[in-house]
Amino acid sequence: MSEIDDRERAIEAMVFASDEALDARQIAGRFHDELTPGEVRAILQAIAARHAGSGIELVERGGHWHFQTPADLAHLLRRERDDPRKLSRAAAEVLAIIAYHEPVSRAEIEAIRGVQTSKGTLDVLMEAEWIAPAGRREVPGRPLIYKTTDAFLQHFGLASRKDLPGIEDLRAAGLLDPVDLAFDAAMDELDLVKDGEEA
């Protein structure tokens, strides 16, 4: 195996030893900024490439990097382990709505689900650190709005929100737009069709 650069070794050890995922800026800081975050990122990518196909992989989640086992080995490793937190159906839906629509208020979540959201549901998601308040919506009542966190991306193995399954298709289909907006669009289309027929 070719000689590994000292800085690459150091960064590899840092990420390996860290008890939480690190981002390039944190790592650069540990080098007293002798390296730029950009350089750190390039080195992280080199490390990830070196581990590709092995039993350990270096992955990026929301800009933060950590080592983990490859998913295809899950069956060998799952033994004697507790299942991760089992989400209720309501919690899973609320989480999905926040992830795909963020930031959203509770009222907006309820508009999609057609049912009131119990306080407990948001609490469970906040306790798991998958969602966090993201300020207030500047509308009457100034409702709190929520967004997903880096821990959410990490847990679900997403490099970024763009990786949310099917998000592009949903957006393209207008399924992430509010009903009012979709309704107006549908009516416009209908009018166009009618106009076309009449012409």
Partner: protein
């Protein structure tokens, strides 16, 4: 859209269950969810779904439930609204009606599509490779440590000042109270009264002071004489005059 296995499988629609008695509304997350479940049982794309058929299914279901169970209010509100929608859809179209039943049906359809999209998104999210289930982290990482290094700070001045204080504290302390020359109030009173007999016109306070009083003694004499002048004025034996604040103070013996 592709059907994905849900981690939480929904309760089958009432028609598919023999023991409909055991069904309860808690199986659904509200009326919209029940509608969606019924819609899925039609096994067609939500965009092509017959809202009228769906509404009928819902109303039948709620009617059955009502006979057997206490039906939650929001299901009944939905039922009432859907019954209205159903009648509107069946009646001949009234162009003046706003919103039109078709528009209401479209809205319902859009809502169901959105809920279905999120339901599916949730399932796909939960099916991802999740930490602790599919991928694993290092259980006991060494951790990165931040070690604080204490750095003590002091200047040479601090050091010398501290030494000065030590020296001072431990040196034998002798208090010397210097005796200072003063003119007492009594002496000033006596002197002033005597001088007022001589001086008949207005005169400045300093003119009443003995000319040989110099330095601290003179300052003391001014102070005492001033107080003495106030005392004599109070007794009505002297008049005081001053042009303005901090201007010279003039005295004159009272007439009569």
């Amino acid at each position: 859209m592709e059907e994905l296995p849900l981690e939480y499988e929904v309760v089958p629609a009432a028609a598919e269950r023999e023991d409909a008695l055991q069904l309860n509304l808690e199986s659904w997350e509200g009326p919209l969810d029940l509608l969606l479940t019924l819609a899925r049982s039609q096994k067609v794309d939500l965009r092509q779904i017959s809202i009228l058929a769906l509404v009928e299914q819902y109303l039948t279901f709620i009617a059955e439930m009502r006979a057997k169970l206490e039906v939650a209010a929001d299901y009944l509100v939905m039922a009432a609204w859907l019954a209205y929608l159903k009648s509107a859809l069946l009646l001949p179209k009234d162009p003046t009606e706003d919103p039109s039943p078709d528009e209401l049906a479209l809205r319902l359809q859009l809502r169901l599509q959105r809920l279905a999209a999120m339901r599916e998104a949730a399932a796909r999210l939960l099916a991802r490779d999740r930490i602790g289930r599919d991928v694993f982290l290092r259980p006991n990482p060494e951790g990165l440590q931040d070690v604080k290094v204490r750095r003590w700070d002091a200047s040479l001045y601090d050091l010398l000042a501290a030494y000065g204080q030590v020296k001072l504290r431990t040196e034998p302390v002798v208090h010397m109270v210097a005796r200072r020359p003063v003119v007492t109030l009594d002496a000033a009173l006596t002197h002033l009264q005597r001088m007022l007999g001589v001086q008949l016109d207005w005169a400045e306070l300093s003119a009443f002071l003995p000319p040989d009083y110099q330095g601290p003694l003179r300052r003391s004499a001014i102070a005492s004489s001033f107080v003495a002048a106030l005392e004599l004025a109070r007794q009505g034996r002297v008049e005081l005059r001053q042009e303005a604040a901090f201007e010279p103070l003039y005295l004159k013996a009272s007439q009569g």
